[in-house]
Amino acid sequence: MPERIYGEVAEKAVRAAAHAVWVQWATLGSMASAAKRATSIIDPEALTLFSLMLRSHERRLAEIISWWAVSGAATLSVQRIRNMSRNLPAEVRQGLVEFADAAIRGGDLRWRSISKARKKAGAEIPSTDAPDLRLDRPPALMLRLRLGIGVGVKADALTYLLASQGEWQSVKSIATATVYSPRAVKRAVDEMAAAGLLKASASQPAEYRADITTWGRLLHIKPPVPRWRFWNSALELLTAIVEWDSRTSGATRYVRSSMARDVAETHREAFRLNRIGVPDPSFVQEDDYLEQFEQSVLSFAGWLGEIA
């Protein structure tokens, strides 16, 4: 895949995202090494898709993705990653097909719905010197709970509630964070509340919380639990920034500014959910928004660098 040339501002966002992804892989014990460790919950589907997107920028990611397809594919939700990839560029979706092919070669037949491979080839055996997945670090909580409870909405909803530091959360906010349907989330959290694993409020609509003291003891995690970040929204925002950069390369200042407004308006939630302070485009007219948007992208890049 040829390396893309980005404009200065988009380049900073891409570079910051590549760094964040690299740090997360290092935290999970892949062959990536980094001086820093991830400080927020690692979202495995978002991490996989981010990596597929950025592999042309950071070529070493291709090797990690190959390792992950064999060592970690079983911890991923096929349905969730498919939902999250729906609005991503064709090259990322193609990368996901290749990932699914590799996962099937590794023996995980759940990926058949994404793979183009007709039948399972000979199982791919991980090389003996491939590193083991590390789940003992707190940012790996989502993967750890999936291994314990099963890949699906219950493990992910519990991760989100623990990462919310015991705060009450609505079905809507859990669904937004975990990218499952509100109906699936409602059913899962009601069952978990009935089993005493979560607390449900008496209010209507009900809200849910996880007792982090009790869960922390069980999981040997000292509060605070790493914070939740809306990586899926961040991934879509980065995609939009890269597309904006590509579509408006060589365009007039006004066209760049106008299309930047589209990105800011469409991805307003990505900034809000991740608490990245950016100016409201409606307060600035004509092409004066361009500098503000570029500043917003730099804030996003800064956020990626800080919270990896």
Binding site: T248, A251, T252, V255, S257, S258, R261, Q285, E286, D287
Partner: protein, 198 residues
Amino acid sequence: MASEQPGMHAALAAVGELLEHENEECAVVVLGGTALTLQGLVSRVTRDVDVVAMGEITDGKVTAIIPPDPLPDSLIRAVSRVARDFGLPRDWLNTVVAAQWRTGMPDGFEERLHWRTMGGLHLGLLDRMDLIFFKLFAAADQAGPQSKHYQDLIALEPTVAELDAATKWVLLQDASTAFSAIVREVADHARTDLRRSR
């Protein structure tokens, strides 16, 4: 010569840039305040752009003038985007005056159009003579010497012959006796005002 009104000029230029970016071309014929200000004939704030006709484009050149309804989708999209970006009303560029096609345009107006190209937007501005026709018509429709149309008519400084020609054309647009009287009254008023100012 009065200066152009920069806001509307910038908005139209923005439409042209958007069209060009999408590899689209559109041609519209404009009358009213925008046609006056863009040609520097009058200086006043223009709130909208009145599109009276559209141009068919072949190989980058306008080859025919046609009614403007419906406007091309690419132009509608660009206008809507500029409305958002410039804080303008959604109908800042509209075809309200397009009904004039049914009652008739001044003979030969197409040959007198002054074309300007702004990116992918070709803007046909009515000639001063045709603007005098329309301004007399509008001034009669919106009576009173304080009306902006009357003020625009005076600013165009028509000669007696031009006013006579305009009166003849406007009377063809509405045959009612009451309207004819108003048109003649406005034209007389204009002649008097112009004589005093010369």
